[in-house]
Symmetry: C2
Subunit: 704 residues, 2 copies
């Protein structure tokens, strides 16, 4: 698969079907770009009438040319695309870029043509980029096979984008900032080649140091996660995902004609696979420049060097807000700085070299401070004051750093600092117009560093009673019941190692009373019915039943209520259950995302979930460390760990519950939803108990 | 006071004490800047030796010059400043700018000299800017009385800054972006003239349309709030306040030698006075440009017009994240857009005019959509695609808008869109490189509009028993007790209209039992002692006492515990109190900020405050509407308003409690802290009851 992308990225010859002499036509722009880009191999314009275009000999068809080509770019109207592709396949072709639009994004007919196109190419093992894309640029191959504008400067950043406009905006912005690219790929409709292929290709591409991307949806969750994780392991991958809010999602969906996955699942997938998330357009290049020029920091302790107090304070605010920390310098460092700096300077962090600092003073401060073992990264701020020499200071900073720790510059201002920006760029130092942007990029690097240093992921496999679950689910599915009620859900959970209260399903009042006696008072009684989901609302649950008489009363009353309120419900019986000792109520859930599969949910019960929305998510399968992290990521974690004099709950046991749900979800794809609400967690050494549970299975309309 | 600032901003003549011929000296830079700035009146350099400097006749002293000057700029070493000031005062001077450093920011001696300087000037009614500042620029007066760099372009934005470096960075950034200024004031140490004077001056300055500022601390809370509120009423005031985090505050404090007020109080003061808060350096100019060129939106419904779907989705995300809304267009608008746009375009919001949109199509879409009454503001996005004409599109947009609603442009990219940026600037359209920044500026405008439209602030004055509080506080202060315990705190609260449980202070077991009988079981018993604050920990509180025997037991046990655990505490007796019916526990508090005075706090009791930190603050005095808003601003508001089947609590009654605490705090400055924890709130129609309360009074060491 990857091998076949070499015809796309590094072809030896290129045909342009729909090449044109008419200015303003895409077929002409592409030919101009190919020519100006300096592509070294043969370029074959195909045009029904023209004999020569832009100095190249043109042919009426590729078969008229008669020789195979490596890459075939198609820029003809939709109605002619299939014929052009078939013609090319006849002659022989390595890969296609279909620029033409009017396919899936337009109407059903377009979708059909697009699908057929991919089918006939796949049959010949030929890959397709697009349709509805801008094309592809590979500066290292002197190939601008796009109409995205002029050839960018060469560089080590590669771009994959689902929006052509984001490509052109990035190219234009980078041109102004003097930033270069290795590859720029506009993915268009992703009929064949998608982010999965491109991540795999660019991960192994020695010319790409950082991958950046813009995504609106993904083609396959599992494939995406494994490609992204593999790529992130080799180099940083920065992604902007649009449609994160309801309004944004609606906007993204309406223009691409695809259903965007749930935002929460994307977030979980990015975290799992080490993708560095860009929240804003400007973050993309900001982060990419930092990653492409600086080493990953070993920790998050930041040194700030500045020639003014105000911006130093702003940077310190930004550091703390980003979850990094302002490094506390060693006393030896402070002493050394005191020696080097004037008396009025601040020798502690932020190090203020004062408004009259010359280049040498900056260099001297950085030289002294960068050795400090309690410093992981450095942000150097310059404001253009009367005696400031921005350009010379940039050079001095570049000369003073060891490049063992990341150094990010924030040269504030515009006009006077411009020459300095160029020097910083040349010296491979990322530069930002504001301290907050430097810190934000540094935070992205720290996050990636942390992901890289994560422990090996070992997913525990618990011994479980799979057969029993198969039997229960089988019975439900055969009888067309897709809701699994409390009693059966508990049986399933018990088979996966959960503690459930002792309970008996009784079919008569006498059985119920006897069961209560055997279990021991107090007990809980619940109506068992696949047709009733919200039991409390219908009076189908009664807690704290303490005597035989109360048990009798509860049974009769429940049956009465059911006849009144749910006359058509099939009642399997009354479940008599041990009362669970008091503890903290938590909620564990699972819902199956259409893209990313089972997504686990955790939160504290009641108000915490319903009002405070204090829940965390993670994609299955989950490791123990990740499960513990899920607990820690709730805002209410202090309640679990023993706030307000409460004994801490058994966090390990709780994490294990999440792992067991993870395993259950992975092993039974027919289970679409699991809801344990509440799970009662006690102090360390006790086992959490399932107080109430339900599941939903895939019906015939769901495609699990 | 304001009148006297005219000598500072628009002097007829200027002297520069310490004017110099030596390049690199501040005294020379200022003279160069004055000259290059084109100042029209006499310029008098004072230098001990030189006869002429830069073509101006120089004098050894101002008395040698012999005539009064309007503005006197001082740029001599600290040791010579006082003499120079005295000399100038002798001759006659309207105002001083003291550029020289080495005062409060350096050492105690510097602080003394600085204070003395202000004293001698105040005695002559002469105002002082600085010391330790860059000076002042007034483009409308052709005056660059600073060493902040060359004269900026003229404009309608005025800057006040506590950091000279922020001034120079803003000036340099604005120069690159083509943005002009009216006044730029570096405040330095603010020995005399501070933000309060400058806000008042600039609020009335017809040449200033927007005030922007950078603050690290303020001189006086009350004066600041009233000056800021008055200024905000006339024009937008955008402020960046550094030191918002612990790390940032430490950084800010260490370099200015002032104690920064609590961040929460600053936030509350900004909200009260309508100040638009800039969180990042880039926000300052971003917001200022929007405010200086566009009308304030009437609401927060945003129309997005774009030539690409991706950036449209990004903008929609940003709109929703900023608390604004993506406008739902009228059907008539959608129909009109459908007529004007190609079939593939999106005629609903975000309006996608497609990648091949020419200037006319942009203009046509904006013309149609801006009339829609459900649109309050417009964000126009352009990405530079193959057929895009950025410059012509900028002109077309400028020509198509009615200027009744704010229009903000986000022309994404760098090189190709540069000519467009200039046109947008010339046309008075704010332009941002990324949709998120345009939306962020728009959100700032919406926030300001909302503040401007706020209802008239009417602070209710409740009839209270002030004398009773005076007596209680008097007794405490006379006996040197600064902690007010539960019983007395409740008496004070009762005098201010709070419902408190029935209670009797008993001095013996027999009295206690009788009191319990009279109040009616069940009761609560509490030890009353100014020496014991955390009663529960010492067993000094017993709830739910139901019988005479239990009352006897509780009394004896408490007294025993006190003898054991707090043998030196003065026990005033045992307070026997009615048990409060169940309700929702909330916390109301007040702490007196050193700058801004009484700050009210509200939160839901227990875990919500302690773990979730879900509290809101507001400065006293508070109106009913503001008190209700305080409740609404908690994340847990849904619990108050009836989440999870709970009946809603009486929000009006709760808001009234906040107002009563506001009045109490304002009327008794000796009360430093009030803590009602918990206040029990019941359903609508019931009165909240104070379950436990304490206060702290100002001791001799506090200066209330």
């Amino acid at each position: 698969m990857i091998k076949s992308l070499s015809s796309l990225f590094s072809p030896s010859s290129i045909a342009v079907i729909g090449a044109s002499r008419t200015p303003g036509k895409v077929g002409r722009d592409i030919l101009v770009n190919l020519k100006k880009g300096g592509f070294a191999g043969p370029i074959v314009p195909v045009n029904r009438e023209a004999k020569r275009i832009l100095g190249f000999r043109a042919y009426p068809s590729l078969s008229a040319y008669g020789k195979p080509v490596d890459l075939c770019i198609i820029a003809v109207p939709r109605s002619s695309v299939t014929a052009a592709v078939e013609d090319a396949l006849e002659v022989g072709v390595g890969a296609f870029i279909v620029i033409s639009a009017g396919f899936k994004e337009t109407d059903q007919e377009g979708r059909k043509i697009e699908e057929n196109l991919v089918d006939i190419c796949s049959a010949r093992n030929v890959r397709v980029l697009g349709p509805n894309c801008l094309g592809l640029i590979n500066t290292g191959h002197a190939m601008n096979a796009s109409f995205a504008g002029p050839m960018p400067q060469a560089g080590v950043i590669s771009v994959i984008s689902q929006s052509g406009a984001i490509c052109t905006a990035l190219l234009d912005l980078a041109a102004a900032r003097g930033i270069g690219f290795s590859k720029v790929v506009s993915m268009g409709n992703k009929a064949d080649i998608s982010e999965v292929d491109l991540l795999a290709y660019l991960a192994d591409d020695p010319e790409t140091r950082v991958i950046v991307g813009y995504l609106e949806d993904i083609v396959s969750g599992d494939a995406f996660i494994s490609a992204a994780e593999a790529a992130s392991t080799k180099k940083p991958v920065v992604m902007l995902k649009a449609g994160t809010t309801e309004a944004g999602k609606k906007a993204a969906t309406s223009h691409t004609g695809v259903l965007a996955g749930t935002e929460v699942a994307y977030g979980a997938a990015f975290i799992r696979s080490g993708i560095i998330r860009a929240d804003h357009f400007e973050d993309i290049l900001d982060y990419a420049v930092a990653f492409s020029t600086q080493p990953i920091p070993a920790g998050k302790r930041v040194l700030i060097v500045t020639n003014a107090g105000g911006p130093g304070a702003m940077a310190a605010d930004a550091v703390e807000n980003a979850g990094l920390s302002v490094a506390r310098l060693d006393t030896a460092t402070v002493a050394s700085l005191r020696e080097r700096l004037p008396r009025a300077a601040s020798a502690s962090n932020p190090v203020d070299v004062l408004g009259d600092a010359d280049p040498a003073r900056y260099a001297s401060a950085i030289e002294a401070a960068q050795k400090d073992p309690s410093v992981d990264a450095i942000v150097v701020i310059l404001t253009p004051q009367a005696m400031t020499k921005p350009r010379e200071t940039a050079l001095a900073i570049a000369g003073s750093i060891t490049r063992e720790k990341p150094v990010l510059a924030a040269f504030m201002g515009g006009k006077d600092v411009l020459p300095a920006r160029r020097e910083l760029l040349n010296a491979g130092l990322p530069d930002y117009g504001a301290p907050e942007r430097a810190v934000s990029s540094l935070a992205a690097m720290c996050g990636y560093g942390q992901w890289k240093r994560r422990p090996l992921r070992v997913v525990t496999r618990f011994p479980v009673n799979r057969r029993r679950v198969e039997r229960i689910l089988g019975r439900h599915l055969r009888s067309g019941r897709f809701q699994v009620g409390d009693a059966k859900a508990k049986e399933i959970l018990a088979a996966y190692g959960f503690a459930i209260p002792k309970g008996v399903l009784s079919q008569s009042r006498a059985e119920a009373v006897e069961a209560a006696e055997v279990i021991g008072f107090p007990v809980v009684m619940k109506v068992v019915s696949g047709d009733i989901v919200h039991k409390s609302d219908l009076g189908a649950v009664k807690l704290g039943i303490a005597t035989r008489q109360e048990a009798r009363d509860a049974y009769d009353l429940m049956m009465l209520r059911m006849r009144e309120l749910a006359p058509n419900a099939v009642i399997d019986g009354i479940h008599v259950e041990q009362m669970i000792p008091q503890g903290l109520e938590v909620i564990i859930g699972m819902s199956r995302d259409p893209h990313f599969g089972p997504m686990l949910m955790f939160g504290l019960g009641g108000i915490f979930v319903e009002v405070m929305k204090d829940v965390t998510f993670y994609l299955a399968p989950i490791t123990h460390a990740e499960a513990v992290q899920m607990l820690k990521n709730t805002r209410s974690y202090a309640v679990l760990s023993g706030a307000r004099g409460r004994p801490p709950v058994d966090l390990d046991a709780l994490a294990t519950c999440l792992q067991r749900i993870s395993q259950l979800s992975k092993e039974f794809p027919r289970i679409l939803e699991i809801d344990i609400n509440p799970l009662i967690v006690g102090r360390v050494g006790t086992e959490p108990v399932v107080a109430d549970a339900r599941m939903r299975l895939a019906g015939p309309e769901d495609r699990p």
